[in-house]
Symmetry: C2
């Protein structure tokens, strides 16, 4: 076996650091529990632009500005940009990269994309293929809803399992040296499909992938829940979080005391937002606003962050396919 | 600067090898100049399935079968799958990965995706994050045309600059040791947009990105056209190939004697296919059918393969955006 992989888990011996990050939120997110922890909140989901898509791009650019400033890094010192989002042909990420004269790699893992960005970024830094990486990801209620579901004007009903796509963007600067928090391991997920076909219940579709990746992670590294202060999922929502707990308990693994879901924390008004928030931005905003600050403050020492993605498209749903899902994980700890 | 990057170019000191590959083509491609060089040709673009999308997935699975068999590798020995395609949410790649119990990373770089797959695969093997990688990519005239342009039934006209999306799939097995050909370097491209907005002239939109990456590659590695037996683009078509030659000649760099374009070779009937073939499959089929065999036979020793991608979506075109493009490159040589 190659030196830096064990099972599905990569080992980053050089411990790539997170030097800084920027987290930008939309209006609903700004009114939520974490509203005072974001770098910037737009009261207008278009951010003053002509279209929602241009608004989402503006949020990414702002997130990048904040991340470079917090990391105290000049954009000319970034070797590689990594990005991905939910829109067809990841246009938000691609069009944002157009403003930078920096090599770019596009990634897609649906709502798991932000964790895929951290994973590939860690790989590049750990393997000495880059000094500094800037990774970003975003999602947006209005741009996602009309692409994946129905035009907003249609006034679709909100069942309790449905999730609300988080409007926001996160950008993270990674480098070999200097971060107060570092990424030590990652686990790449398999595509898992247990036959869920309800696009209003993504949490249930994604929970089996999260369970599989978490169990695999523990097995690969001979670890268990006791080795982590918290285990954080990106956007399972309340429904998916409960399914995950049940699935793991069936395998004699209890993480319920340590499990937090970013989507459910960011948008916690059940009546308005169903099961909670979803989207690539959920984990980007969640770990930047709450969990990395807690690590830096020394309140916690090591977390496992699991990003989940539902890999269907409107076309596959129309063709009566079920919903495959994936979960990638990274370990973040104090340096 | 980190040890394994110079400018935009990555250096793979462990020389990851291509152990085997599988290349599957559709009906038009099978009737072209390279028809006798593919592993399998489907006369029916649906491959006997109910939809074109299922047909495209079947082609990818067949390509994987051929690649494992030619590499003499068991699928259980693959550490990581890498894949990407043109369809929204890269459904072909994601749904194919569902059939394998192997970790998966999704990539998106439009028609440059196949080269991005080789690049990330090389990185994983070279950095000892994987023993064996299986990377795949695909494109399909019928699935792409109705997504990006108009329903086929509409009978849209074919201007001479327009390209025909190649129907086909390629899968490549990569490993640290054992290949007759190896990947020694890669250059990651920047997103370049010179303002082209004609979705029927992708070659002209992508040529500036190819020029930028090629010049950067030469500068990073202190090389020039004389260091390569051939320089191969994925799918610029005849029009884009000529634009690339002109752009480089303006910079005092003449590659015209060495330049081949996979799309233009695979579909060479100008009346039927406009400027030539396009799509992720163009480079995957081109290098597997012609150029790797030439390397193995010893007729050539080193090639530079440049995959180009146009990063727009139907939505950005409708919103009057221009077309950003990207080009990634890998160096393949005899081991």
């Amino acid at each position: 076996m190659a030196a830096n992989i064990n099972g599905q888990s990569l080992i980053f011996n050089n411990r790539p650091g997170i030097l800084g990050y920027g987290i930008i939120a939309g209006p609903a997110e700004g009114k939520g529990l974490l509203g005072n922890k974001f770098d910037l909140i737009y009261e207008d989901a278009r951010c003053g632009e002509k279209t929602w898509e241009l608004g989402e791009m503006k949020m990414v650019k702002k997130a990048i500005d904040y991340s470079l400033s917090r990391a105290n890094v000049d954009r000319n010192d970034i070797n590689i940009l990594l990005g991905g989002d939910l829109l067809n042909q990841i246009i938000v990420s691609n069009f944002t990269a157009r403003s930078f004269s920096i090599p770019f790699l596009g990634l897609y893992g649906a709502c798991s994309t932000f964790i895929e960005v951290l994973l590939v970024g860690s790989l590049l830094v750990d393997g000495k293929y880059a000094d500094k990486i800037l990774g970003y990801s975003s999602s947006h209620y209005q741009t996602a809803e009309r692409q994946f579901r129905t035009p907003l004007e249609y006034g679709d009903q909100y069942p309790p399992t449905k999730q609300w796509t988080i409007t926001g963007a996160g950008a993270y600067v990674m480098a070999e040296n200097g971060g107060e928090v570092v990424i030590t391991h990652a686990t790449i997920g398999k595509v898992i499909d247990l036959g869920v076909n309800d696009s209003n219940d993504m949490g249930s579709a994604m929970a089996p992938a999260a369970a599989d990746t978490i169990l695999q992670h523990f097995s690969d590294l001979q670890r268990g829940p006791q080795d982590y202060d918290l285990i954080i999922t990106g956007d399972l929502g309340r429904v998916g979080r409960d399914v995950l707990n049940t699935l793991l308990q069936e395998k004699n693994c209890d993480i319920s005391e340590k499990l937090k879901d970013c989507g459910a924390i960011i948008l916690n008004d059940e009546k308005k937002y169903g099961s909670g928030g979803s989207g690539c931005a959920a984990s980007a905003l969640g770990i930047g606003s709450v969990f990395i600050p807690e690590l830096i403050a020394g309140n916690i020492n090591r977390i496992l962050v699991v990003g989940t993605g539902a890999l269907m498209s409107p076309l596959t749903l129309n063709q009566n396919e079920t919903i495959p899902a994936i979960a990638h994980a990274v370990v973040i700890e104090r340096s």
